[in-house]
Amino acid sequence: MVEVKLQKVTKRFGKVVAVDSVTLSIKEGEFFTFLGPSGCGKTTTLRVIAGLEYPDEGKIFFDDEDVTDLPPYKRNTGMVFQNYALWPHMTVFENVAYGLKIRGYSKSEIRKRVLEVLELVKLKGLEDRYPTQLSGGQQQRVALARALVIEPKVLLLDEPLSNLDARLRIEMREELKKLQKKLKITTIYVTHDQEEALVISDRIAVMNQGKIMQVGEPNEVYRRPKNLFVATFLGRCSLIEGKIEKIEGDLVTLVTDNIKIKGIVPDRDIKIKEGEPAYAVLKPEDFALQIDDPSKANEFEGTVEWTSFVGPFNQMRISLGNISLLVNVEPWFNPPLKSTVKVYIPYEYVIILPKE
């Protein structure tokens, strides 16, 4: 178990900067996730940590050891690949035993450890199968067992659940989380699925175009996005452009042509000034039809443009002149189109961000 530190790591492929001066540290035993759209550099970052790519600039440390130039086979990381990379010419047992054989363990020791880890991932009894004879979920567990059995310093997971169907994915991510907490192994996870990232991680780094946009605990990056990219990438939201009218302590007022919105700035580092253009970020689930203390909430009245039944709630779009709000309401509330409704959203839930 180690702390993983990246210092100004940059990786280019030709002219494309895949990873752009990334600095961060991943704590011992932490479940850390790189989250971002495809092509944002998250997988490359993981491969740089594994040693499968070497950075053009910057350094990588495992605790205090500089591993930047260490070849992958000397880093002792355990990686699970997106396509699992199971060797089709070896059985499940042989796949899992491979890393132990390389490390020169005795036959009996290998047998003991492989069976232990297969039990851990609930694959006992399938040792002699070939990968092609397994389901997607089972293949995924073999890949995990193969990475875990060598007791790596760091566990690296590259979108390990993306090839599973939706139901299995949800089951597996819970299992993975439990396993990680049990083994207390430093784990670095890569995914483009924001829900997965929120559920599974201790901390998340949101990436875009090779840069880290924000690092924080799941509720922090979700509730307090520090920039427009994070705000719009995590969950859906209504983005309203306007101008800063007033700043009173934490409370900021944004005006548009026809409405005023009060909200807060998520971080003290973010500089805003009265009179400058800015955005308000409103998450649909933060709206309510009634509210205990209307003095601490924005109130909007508009006409219903469309509604749609999602299951746990109804989603609708409310139009206020040239502004349109996406709002989640209780499933029983189903107003006719073109009718007028009134919704509230507390000031503290509205995020104000400067125009970039």
Partner: protein, 613 residues
């Protein structure tokens, strides 16, 4: 700079260094140096660099004939009566232009025939299709020299064709005799069209059917659909095949030597490959007797071949010649033919199959009957010639030589081919593209040029050593096979590596395996079927190698392989009856080839679908 060195150090692990050394050593000593040495020789006149030989060649009048002789058809009175003679006096443009003319015509005809046949086989369903699938590939079975003898038996003035047409059916008012360049074009077209056919076929079935369906959906059909969608999509494959045909036609020695054997001298000898070969045959005693302008001729031929090769390589990657098509992953568009379609299709395919496979069929007949001495038709079945393969000491020695050379060459080829393919597929080192080019280039280097290069280089620098061509041509043949047939093993292995997802190897590295360990425990087991199949094909292609075999073996006939023995029989017109023994050898080669191709196909089809691919 230090960053580059660091990167290089990282990439050059012990495995890569070993693999790289093998590739550089073998390709360097047995390809680059001999050929470069020969090229250099052509530019030296009286001790200094000069274009003298090139100038004298180009102005000699035999090299480029001005004005060209264009009369290519004549009606002559002979003891056989009236004969329509095609190609005796002309066309004749001079040696250089004759070669280019023949290769271009062969490329065009083989292109049209191959593409047409491929389209029919890929897109239509009709009774007997599977039979034609086999028949159309028969010309691929090499039976060097003997097939030309068959040609003489069939197409000569008193041959089978004229016998049937004039004496039996009375369908023609006069006999026909084809010789010279038209005969070359005819023979080479019929033996080389399968290369285009195979390429075009795999291109056609690899076209995603939805692409054509979309075009139909938008209103295109028939010829319009073919010309705007199908043909452009298949064109890279077809062009690659056509370019290979051009190169193979230009370097071919089998057809001109065979025609000389069948009809005696003539314009079919006035081409580059034959002239170079002939000049060197004269220089057997000592290399000094070879006129230096021959080297200039070889350089020009090499230049044309390499330019064509690099141009087409740039246009399409040349992976199809390894005969590994990915096969249709989708249901291909196949239509049943109606009666109005069946008639032309059958006429085309039957004519093609009969005319293209008669040399091979004839070789088999020659081997099992007294046809060689019986006149127009064979009269007696015999196993005398087949048994000669074992009983005739000279023949048995040729077979043994071939087997030994080909086995060792195959081992070397696999070592070099696998190393080169692995470096090209997996390493990011400078010079990788050069290795890629060098390992595929031999397909474009005429064998006669390799032979000439060996003769010059090894006789000059390795005299009185085991590599002395006058003393030990067998050893050099092993290396010439290794280099000349390298593209087959290198490309087959490369194709296998492309199917192995790199993450399979990265996973092993991640678990602590060094590069070498990864190669031997992961990569090699996964591509072993490709290695074996590439090895089998390489072995057979070594067995029927012609150009270097017949040139170098002249220096010490006791070390000659099968093809050398066959050439001696046909070209030297040795004792009566030996032709039939050569035919028996041809049958042996045919059997070896069919076996090898079947095994190789079987192995590659049995491969499990790899995960993550």
């Amino acid at each position: 700079m230090s960053k580059l060195l660091k990167e290089l150090k990282r990439e050059l692990d012990s495995l890569t260094i070993v693999q790289l050394s093998i590739v550089v050593l073998i390709l360097g000593v047995f390809l680059v140096l001999p050929v470069s040495f020969m090229i250099l020789r052509a530019f030296f006149y009286k001790g200094s660099l000069s274009l003298y030989y090139f100038q004298s060649l180009l102005s000699s009048g035999t090299f480029i004939k001005i004005p060209p002789e264009l009369r290519w058809i004549e009606l002559a009175e002979t003891p056989y009566g009236k004969i329509l003679i095609i190609g005796r006096r002309g066309p004749n443009f001079g040696i250089l232009l004759n070669s280019l003319f023949v290769s271009t015509m062969v490329m065009i005809f083989a292109g049209i025939i191959g593409t047409t046949a491929a389209f029919i086989m890929a897109r239509y369903d009709f009774p007997g299709k599977n039979v034609f699938k086999v028949l159309l590939l028969i010309p691929m079975l090499a039976t060097p020299f003997v097939n030309a003898f068959v040609l003489g038996k069939v197409l000569s003035v008193d041959g089978l064709f004229n016998y049937l047409m004039c004496d039996v059916l009375h369908a023609l008012p006069f006999r026909i005799w084809i010789t010279g360049l038209p005969a070359l074009i005819l023979i080479q077209t019929l033996s080389l069209y399968p290369i285009v056919y195979l390429n075009a076929f795999s291109s056609f079935i690899n076209i995603d059917p939805t692409l054509e369906e979309q075009a139909e959906n938008l209103g295109a059909r028939g010829l319009k659909l073919f010309l705007t969608i199908t043909l452009p999509l298949a064109l890279p494959g077809i062009s690659a095949g056509a370019a290979l045909v051009f190169i193979f036609s230009m370097e071919d020695l089998g057809a001109p030597i065979g025609l000389s054997g069948a009809f005696g001298g003539g314009l079919h000898e006035k081409i580059l490959s034959f002239q170079i070969y002939d000049e060197f045959r004269r220089g057997i005693g000592s290399i000094e007797q070879v006129h230096a302008s021959t080297y200039a001729m070889a350089v020009i031929m090499l230049l044309v071949a390499i330019v064509v090769f690099l141009a087409i390589k740039k246009y399409v990657s040349l992976r199809s010649y390894a005969m590994l098509s990915k096969g249709g992953r989708w249901k291909p568009r196949v239509r049943r033919l109606g009666i109005m379609g069946l008639i032309p299709v059958y006429i085309f395919l039957i004519t093609l199959a009969i005319s293209a496979s008669f040399p091979q069929i004839g070789v088999v007949i020659l081997a099992f009957t007294n046809w060689a001495i019986s006149g127009v038709l064979p009269t007696k079945f015999t196993t005398e010639y087949i048994s000669a393969l074992v009983t005739n000491r000279e023949v048995a020695r040729a077979i043994t030589n071939s087997l030994i050379y080909s086995s060792i060459a195959t081992a070397i080829m696999l070592l070099v081919g696998t190393s080169a393919a692995y470096i090209v597929a997996r390493k990011k080192i400078p010079g990788r593209d050069l290795i890629d080019t060098l390992s595929t280039l031999p397909i474009a280097i005429p064998g006669i040029i390799v032979a000439v290069g060996y003769l010059l280089f090894f006789a000059t620098y390795f005299s009185q050593t085991p590599f002395d061509p006058f003393f030990n041509p067998g050893l050099l043949l092993i290396f010439s096979y290794s280099v000349r047939r390298l593209p087959f093993s290198a490309r087959t292995v490369f194709a296998g590596l492309q199917q192995v997802h790199e993450s399979l190897e990265e996973a092993a590295m991640n678990l602590g395996a060094s590069r070498a360990k990864v190669f031997f425990t992961i990569a090699l087991p996964l591509i072993i079927s490709n290695v074996i199949s590439g090895g089998i094909l390489s072995f057979v292609y070594s067995m029927n190698e012609v150009s270097t075999s017949i040139t170098l073996s002249n220096l010490n006939p006791s070390q000659g392989p099968i093809t050398f023995y066959m050439s001696q029989v046909i070209y030297a017109s040795a004792a009566v009856g030996t032709v039939s023994v050569a035919a028996a050898l041809g049958v042996l080669l045919i059997i070896a080839q069919i076996t090898a191709i079947s095994i190789s196909n079987y192995i590659l089809k049995q491969r499990v679908a790899f995960l993550g691919v």
